[in-house]
Homo-oligomer: 254 residues x 4
């Protein structure tokens, strides 16, 4: 049994710090770096790429809507053509920064409202994939299992990886409880580990109503914006290892 | 005798149109495409790359200060580290768009206030070159002759090309008459051609006081923001050809 | 019989010019000035206020979504609280510029996607009105007739004015044909005048299927982004006057 | 003996938090609220205005260069006309938010690089003052003592208040040690209090070389971006009171 742990990082901007990337990056095997549209800036991107390389984490791009004030969490009604172009731009910019530091970009995971929209809307999903495929067809696509994004990736011949969340509550239909609702975020380390083990070992997740859904995950996301994010991540990684589960980046998975 | 003709293009943004790129690009042999910081956006960049490919023009990046409201014409006191990072980001983004369309980025010319600052300030010049060199050491650097930018390019082992202006007035010290002063811009096609011939054939330019300066130019810039820009450019290209001068992109020059 | 003619102006940004405000403003009795979020900048706003004062046009604010790249035409899923705050900010900024020039702000008309959303969505409509009412309860609200925006204005005790379009095609249900569809924009001066007369005299508008809808309008919008906008506007104003209709700003209407 | 204590607040943006405004505002008598250009956004501005009203602090505007990524700390070479317009816009926007909450704007203090430039450059100083005076001639101007900003305020007939820093090191010429140099920021509460007492009681400040300069201050700035800012501020206010100094907003000073 094996799993990748991923985290969204590089979300600081100018003087504004968000999360403790240095600590968090050491606990995961893959990172998704913001590309300057919903968060991040050229300097933050470069420093984050270096942190990821030092920690040996696989580097991915985390493109989002051009909405810094809303942190990419507000849906913006862009046309598929516009979506394709902003995704291409962001992935290319980050890939260049990664190359400048001597590494290689490995995957792409859309951010926030773009992630959610691409999961459900096939036209937007195809636009996201078109932007990525135009740049580099070897990139893996990270998204929710059985989503329109995964369908679009397969249709275009790109690999995709299914992501689950051990620190977010699931509704019975398999969707996440929205962030602003009570109980949406799980920040108790022991509980996060328990849920991760449920996902990896039993391929299941318990929803808010107690029902159990089957789920397939290649990677588990660790959020960095909870106050004790790096502690949760550290305990999660240790706990998975102690449970005999191999934690490794997607590329190293079979 | 030979020369490259270059134009700054892709400076539209969203609904805002600037210049008639379609007509202008057909008249030149190299284009410098804005990268989304002082002008341009991901969609404009992609459409402009396509226009350049259709016209057979060599494609370069035109990075600028992050100041859309000032169109990159206002100096911004960024640190060398910040300059390096924003140049790397912009060049990488455009290079990715170019690659997505099946072409290759060939040169970089800084824009506006960044061009002027990098021409005079050795520290900023080295920062610009560092950002470019980190991404791709085969890119040619376009800037003023004998500038700090050319010195920094040589110091880092990058090729550079000297640029002259046939449609801008020169002061006796070799600097351009600032844009807001009367007579700064020359928009009479015959006069632009005359000055271009003076530059290419005699390697000289006549300054505002009538004095003649020697100048070396590998490329002549054709501005696109004068109302009749594409007419000037068309007449310039034809006039140069009729004078027996070979007009070709930098790469094709010996 | 009387009517107000209004135009959206001040939509230039930095070096980017949009429309011929100087000519257009002279043809209308009210202007809606962009506030720097979807278009406009502090300098453009001030110059446009001066043009309006010279022409004797009533000045209104034209707040939009914070999306310069999309020109405020893409819906952005902001919360009601966020909507209220960005409307208040934009209206206050423009009102201050107007006061600095010695005039007074008279009305507010939301722009683009914010206009469309506030027309249909009661929660967003109330948020727009809350932002305006918090600043100045004497401002008139311009929006579509019988819209949620008008309902919210009435609920909060603010005056509102109904707007019709003589240069846009209507669908049988009374909504406008979306901008990207063929025939959406009517740019034939004679036809625009004919439709305006139909709206003012008969209180009717003919839809795309030939059916006739009753419509009440206090003001007719003249778009400035068609190439011959100021010609259309001039002919419209003259034609209305020749038909014996009084063209005057909202405040001067009974 | 009396003094005002002021703090720069409202510098958060979207999801990005900066400083602990709630605690800091309770310790000072005047606040300078960012206006959305170098920091702050419409929602942050409104919440900060409310916090200031709850704490009974006098509210001022803190306009800066339009450079969120550089937090307004990088000089931007704007023309005097542009400076005037962005200052007017920002002051008007904040004044409107303040009025919407039922309070009144009392003063303006330029931020960061705009503060430093306006202190030394008479043309920029006059532009800043012109933007403020056009909006409301009753606003007090906060700036360094004996600066060009104070000269310009006096020339335009506006009141001004001199500001000193108890938590920043002074050079022998009376300028502040730049922020990036060692020892620039003093974060030891006892030392900050000591320096404040020296400024208020003896009208003197000890420079980095041990020399003593005379200084006149109507207000002392408490920075909010040091980790223990609110603790420093609380001890400073208590210490001043215990020393028999009256701490009150500028308007209440004679």
């Amino acid at each position: 049994m094996r799993i990748d742990l991923n985290a969204d990082v590089g979300e600081s901007f100018g003087v504004y710090q968000l999360g403790d990337d240095r600590a968090l990056i050491r606990c995961v095997t893959s990172v998704n770096i913001a590309c300057g549209f919903h968060a991040g800036d050229p300097g933050v991107m470069r420093r984050t790429v270096r942190l990821a390389m030092e920690a040996g984490a696989a580097i991915g791009a985390h493109p989002g809507f051009p909405d810094l004030q809303g942190f990419g969490r507000r849906e913006l009604n862009m046309s598929p053509r516009e979506i394709e172009d902003v995704v291409l731009y962001q992935v290319a910019a980050l890939a260049g920064v990664v190359a400048a530091e001597g590494a290689r970009l490995r995957h792409v995971k859309p951010h926030g409202a773009l992630y959610n929209t691409a999961a459900k809307n096939s036209e937007i999903a195809r636009a996201v994939i078109a932007g990525i495929a135009a740049f580099d067809r070897s990139l893996a696509i990270v998204g929710p299992p059985d989503s329109q994004l995964a369908v679009a990736a397969a249709g275009a011949g790109l690999r995709s990886a299914a992501e689950a969340f051990a620190d977010r509550a699931y509704r019975p239909d398999g969707s996440l409880v929205p962030r602003h609702m009570p109980g949406a975020v799980i920040d108790e380390p022991v509980m996060v580990l328990e849920r991760a083990l449920e996902i990896v070992r039993r391929r299941e997740v318990t929803a808010t109503d107690g029902s159990v859904r089957s789920i397939h995950a290649d990677t588990i996301c660790v959020h960095g914006d909870t106050p004790n994010a790096s502690i949760i991540a550290a305990q999660l990684r240790r706990g998975l290892a102690e449970a005999g589960i191999r934690v490794a980046a997607l590329d190293e998975l079979p």
